[in-house]
Symmetry: D2
Subunit: 118 residues, 4 copies
């Protein structure tokens, strides 16, 4: 078993939910709310920091932030699973689309949204 | 190259940002905001649906939802990268913690938060 | 002093921040993050409930939900204040726009987004 | 009729929803999701800005931000209405609680969360 693998994570979460009979709660609607709540818990660590400070977390913050990143990944993986969507494939496909929307020459060094690139 | 691999995704995103000189914008503070915005775009697809309807998306919605899941995974992976956190390792570690917080016997069939389990 | 008044709330929050020398943290960027975090804390109360259950909160939940609604309103009012935007005027203006986007005849009884109304 | 009044806003929104037969969609669960989506649309305007830049929006951005603030206030008011909670009363009550949690002397000039104030 390799841990560098989203499929293994998906199966582990699936077993976790099944063992607790939690599948009944895991509709996409509920899971996307849980995902959003976890994302906010992650964001809370950064809300009063400057950009620079956000790059220099102390050890305690780093540990907490890692756990919140974990929670976001867990719910995202579970949501994709119940929708039967492969999140990694979707991500690689989306990067192809983004490469079209943000050509290197037009996008370099600024953050203009694609629909406002001339 | 295998696609079932978050490390490959991380490197692809890293190259994408570097080619566009976007690293200057990719502080954790900014990235967590972008992650939160993408999570909301994903949530928007489900806001007026019942739980049951959220399980029966039509083809058009499924495609759009897959792209939003992709965006969330992309920003989450990028955020973890700039923080030098391994998101998969963090997720497996967190599942161990969750297994302690939610013992099977006490958690089966209900969604009580761990701090309210007797 | 009337309490049914957002201007009074705005001034109260302004004094609160000034007394604690918190104005330095109250950039729009930081405040919108705090607003988003509070919105998620409000959402957390509803994530595992059905629509029907969400209408029947017990007394304890109602008290907690009221406090989260308060936090959202406080940060929204503060954000509008530092941006010098009148939120009530903006809301009444927006309702006029919404009335154009969602004519009664075309919108009755369904939740189709305005850009998909034929 | 005065516009500086959340009760008038509440009633206007209530009439708007009733005229379109939208009450069926306005469960607290759905409304809190809509609130969260609007909050993210507001946040999107600030995600790549520095704190300083977020204080200096151009005219176009200000107009768009005002409309997003409006949407957040509209959904928050509607959510409080269906829950029969007075949001202004709740906000003033919460400020009393916050004043206890954040005494002026202990809180001045830093953003430490109340549970970490010594």
């Amino acid at each position: 078993m390799t841990l560098d693998n989203l499929s293994t994570l998906r199966d582990t979460i699936r077993d976790f939910a099944q063992a607790r009979d939690w599948e009944q709660f895991h509709t996409p609607k509920n899971l996307v709310m849980a995902l959003s709540v976890e994302t906010a818990e992650l964001m809370e660590h950064f809300q009063w920091l400057t950009g620079e400070q956000s790059l220099q977390l102390n050890a305690q913050s780093r540990t907490e932030v890692a756990q919140e990143i974990a929670d976001v990944l867990i719910y995202l993986t579970r949501l994709a699973d119940v929708l039967d969507i492969d999140p990694l494939q979707a991500a690689f496909d989306k990067i192809q689309i983004n490469a079209q929307k943000y050509p290197v020459e037009k996008s370099r060094g600024h953050n203009t949204k694609y629909d406002k690139l001339d």
